[in-house]
């Protein structure tokens, strides 16, 4: 099923890039090239061949693990995507962890005490965060942590031979910006699930039977976990390709940033590779979420029995 989805995705992406006005020849040639030079570039890039032939050629390569070469720089697409994936992960995983702790913890707390002062304060904060664009959150963090209290570097410059993982101080700000960007909506969804679960006859039954404390929290949360896990996985999948602003401002160019650049230069093999990867990763994340929900569902009757 995954393979079919990815194939359909690759066809769609290829078709979409093909109908965009212009091609890599324009991006590569610049404003000064003569018509003959443009034609030579077109031939060199193989763009004179019919789209179907180019697609099949590319697809054949992918089946053998060859993602092709970039039309703009002639470098191996696998290398570019690999480096970008590493940068993306280095920021997204800590961001996801932070999101889980913050949104999970506060969402549960607010949900269990719906209507309390804390709940109202959190509602206000999260609404504010949801309404704040990413660049404003990122700029705010930069302002606080590189200027007023200059404890963190503004821009990620990774020494050669090292990877971003080895420089935690470079990851803090972009990860925090991503986590804050996703915090509002995820937390509100979790809170709503917990409120609903706490109001269900099932939770009432548990309360009437004297279930209290951590056991009660777990009863409610595990019951609410299904939709909450879904909300979290969708947020995570969105972070994969959607952190362009944060990636740009902190100089951690990841997949999202590279994809926008590749579209700008009509670098079809790179666009294809990144879209496939993002598509595949999204499917995987969603699948993991489904599996987790199923596991929670199965545990739930045992845990919930008074």
């Amino acid at each position: 099923m995954c393979a079919v989805t990815l194939t359909v995705l690759s066809v769609l992406v290829f078709w979409a890039t093909d109908i965009l006005p212009g091609d890599a020849v324009g991006a590569v040639s610049g404003p000064d090239a003569t018509d003959a030079e443009r034609e030579a570039v077109r031939l060199a890039l193989g763009l004179d061949r019919p789209p179907l032939e180019r697609y099949l050629d590319w697809g054949g390569g992918v089946l053998h693990g060859d993602l092709g070469t970039s039309m703009v720089s002639g470098t191996d697409v696998t290398d570019i995507v690999g480096a970008r994936l590493e940068a993306s992960f280095a920021v997204i995983l800590p961001a996801a962890g932070l999101l889980l702790v913050l949104a999970g913890g506060l969402g549960t707390w607010a949900g269990l005490r719906a209507g309390s002062r804390l709940d109202r304060a959190l509602s206000g904060t999260t609404l504010g965060l949801i309404g704040t664009p990413d660049f404003l959150i990122a700029t705010g963090l930069l302002l606080v942590f590189t200027l007023w209290w200059p404890v963190l570097p503004a821009v990620a410059i990774v020494p050669l031979g090292q990877s971003l993982w080895q420089q935690p101080e470079l990851i803090v700000l972009p990860a925090a910006a991503l986590a804050l960007g996703g915090f509002g909506s995820t937390m509100r969804l979790l809170r709503a699930c917990v409120v609903q679960s706490a109001a269900s006859p099932y939770a009432e039954f548990a309360r009437l039977n004297g279930v209290r404390g951590a056991r009660y929290v777990w009863t409610v949360v595990s019951n609410a976990a299904g939709p909450a896990v879904h909300a979290f996985t969708i947020m995570l999948a969105g972070l994969l390709g959607g952190g362009v602003v944060v990636e740009t401002l902190f100089n951690v160019p990841g997949l999202g940033y590279e994809l926008t650049r590749a579209v700008g230069t009509r670098d079809v093999p790179l666009i294809q590779a990144i879209s496939l990867l993002l598509g595949g990763a999204t499917l995987l994340v969603l699948l993991a979420g489904d599996v987790l929900v199923r596991l929670l569902d199965r545990r739930h009757p045992r845990e919930g029995q008074p």
């Binding site: 965009l20 006005p21 212009g22 091609d23 020849v25 324009g26 991006a27 590569v28 040639s29 610049g30 404003p31 000064d32 090239a33 003569t34 030079e37 443009r38 030579a40 570039v41 060199a44 970039s70 703009v72 720089s73 002639g74 470098t75 290398d79 570019i80 480096a83 970008r84 660049f135 404003l136 700029t139 930069l142 302002l143 590189t146 200027l147 007023w148 200059p150 570097p153 503004a154 821009v155 410059i157 990774v158 050669l160 031979g161 740009t248 401002l249 902190f250 100089n251 160019p253 940033y257 590279e258 650049r261 579209v263 700008g264 230069t265 009509r266 670098d267």
Partner: protein
């Protein structure tokens, strides 16, 4: 201070935030190391450029400016355009270029004693290969200039220090073609790695595309020895991030600032902004296609040129970091006709001309995209100026990269923004629309006497000034900034870091 500055500029929330960020980042850290002087030697320069994942050591195919900056440090040039030198070029691994009297053959003499990093001597074979490499290795069009004027198939290397290059047709400006961007590589080079033999002032110690390059001084370099021990070229694609990196002391030099960023950094302690000098400025022009209505009427073209307030564009878009254009390319190059009167800003006359041409109240659409700093902003002001003389003008703004992506469609647009990198007028002239100018350019390139060539060139420029299709409003230089203590960087078409110094 932050708030007042950003209010004064009033360029919207985003800009204000960026401004306050940048201004605010001014700590005291750059005040250290203030002693500056020519005696400073050694050290490392950390320079940031836009770069990106598509960086490559193969400068023939390198799409980013950083690729050429790096290549220029690693590979010595054959020769370079240099408006102050004799014949407009200064020499690198060549020691001279002689032209036959009939302008049909160029003889290149190779400098003695130039060595590659593998110890071998650089000979005419290497120079010949370097000239042919753009074609053999499928270089980008901008590297193919030599092939536009010379018959590289018939070029020969009769002895170890001579290359003979026949022209395709007689040309006098062949030096400009050879010296615009050609670098010396070793005969047979097909791959570019950090180990590839080279002859420039620096060698690569490590390279990672989209991240950084480290370079070390080449002790066997034939020319003036660099003062720096090493250079680190850092890739930071976003302009605001580059400015922040400079402000925080993460890098010493940044290139490719927008005029607004330059304005923000100017006057801030510990940093210095520098603007490229002429002729190293890109020509920002709006082309009115003479084949399309209403621009087939020369009066309409003149009216549009008179309607635009160039001084306002220079001040409001470029904060003074640009040179006003006079509707003719090549400002600052030796052949540029400085006797041309600067086009006036005369909206009243523009209205009259439009009325005479029966074109009052016409509708036009100007297509522009962010391909050069300030292009869209300038187009916005041009449209405003046109509206002020009664033209129903509107702006069609494209996303980054779109303007030139479909060149066929671009060429057909009746009214469009565009730019050309710094280059002399004649070899870059596209013939077709103005047969009289074509003939004059032909004479300017091929007449045997220098006076005749210059006179033809000036006549062509005068014709273009009077009747041409370009509304050439501005020449836009590269803007860079450095922390105190950095000097010696030459702002050419791309910054040249070879003779830079940093105080310890």
């Amino acid at each position: 201070m932050m708030a007042t500055r950003s209010r004064r500029r009033g360029t919207g929330v985003a800009a204000a935030l960026a401004v306050s960020l940048v201004l605010g980042a001014c700590g005291g850290e750059s005040e250290a190391g203030a002693e500056q002087g020519a005696d400073a030697t050694g050290g490392t320069l950390r320079a940031a450029f836009a770069g990106g994942a598509s960086e490559t050591l193969n400068y023939l195919q390198g799409p980013t400016g950083l690729d050429y900056v790096r290549a220029k440090l690693v590979h010595a040039p054959l020769c370079e355009l240099d408006a102050s030198a004799e014949a407009g070029v200064s020499y690198g691994v060549l020691k001279s270029i002689d032209v036959s009297d009939d302008l049909s053959e160029y003889t290149l003499s190779v400098r003695d004693g130039v060595k590659f990093t593998d110890g071998s001597a650089l000979t005419s074979k290497d120079v010949l290969y370097s000239l042919r490499a753009p074609q053999l290795l499928k270089g980008l069009p901008f590297t193919q200039l030599v092939a536009r004027g010379f018959d590289l198939e018939k070029a020969t290397a009769p002895d170890a220090s001579t290359v003979v290059l026949p022209t395709l047709s007689p040309i006098a400006d062949g030096r400009d073609l050879i010296c615009q961007s050609m670098l010396a590589i070793k005969d047979g080079t097909t791959e570019f790695t950090p180990q590839t033999p080279s002859s420039g002032p620096f060698t690569i110690t490590a390279f990672e595309a989209g991240r950084s390059t480290t370079l070390r001084r080449n002790e066997t370099y034939y020319g003036q020895a660099p003062s720096l021990d090493s250079i680190e070229l850092v890739s930071i694609p976003d302009g605001t991030a580059r400015v922040n990196a400079l402000r925080q002391g993460q890098v010493d030099y940044i290139s490719g600032l927008t005029p607004a960023q330059a304005q923000t950094l100017e006057g801030v302690d510990g940093t210095a902004v520098s603007t490229g000098e002429l002729p190293y400025a890109s020509y920002l022009q709006f082309t009115m296609s003479p084949a399309a209505q209403p621009f087939d009427d020369v009066r309409v073209r003149e009216a549009f040129r008179l309607a635009v307030n160039r001084e306002r564009i220079r001040e409001n878009v470029y904060y003074g970091h640009a040179f006003i254009g006079n509707d003719v390319p090549g400002l600052g190059f030796p052949n540029y006709d400085t006797s041309l009167e600067q086009r006036a800003y005369d909206p009243r006359r523009a209205r009259e001309l439009l009325a005479e041409a029966g074109a009052a109240g016409i509708e036009v659409e100007l297509t522009a995209g962010p391909e050069l700093a300030g292009m869209v902003e300038t187009a916005t002001l041009v449209v405003e100026d046109l509206q002020a003389i009664g033209v129903k003008a509107k702006l069609r703004e494209l996303a980054a990269g779109e303007l030139y992506a479909d060149f066929g469609a671009y060429a057909k647009l009746p009214f469009k923004a565009g730019y050309t990198p710094p280059a002399t007028f004649e070899p870059n002239w596209t013939p077709g629309a103005f047969p009289d100018v074509d003939a004059l350019v032909q004479t300017a390139r091929s007449a045997t006497s220098a006076e005749e060539r210059l006179s033809a060139s000036h006549q062509a420029q005068q014709l273009l000034w009077k009747e041409g299709s370009q509304l050439g409003v501005m020449f836009v230089p590269n803007i860079s900034a450095a922390v105190e203590g950095v000097s010696g960087i030459r702002e050419l078409q791309f910054p040249d870091l070879a003779q830079a110094t940093v105080s310890q």
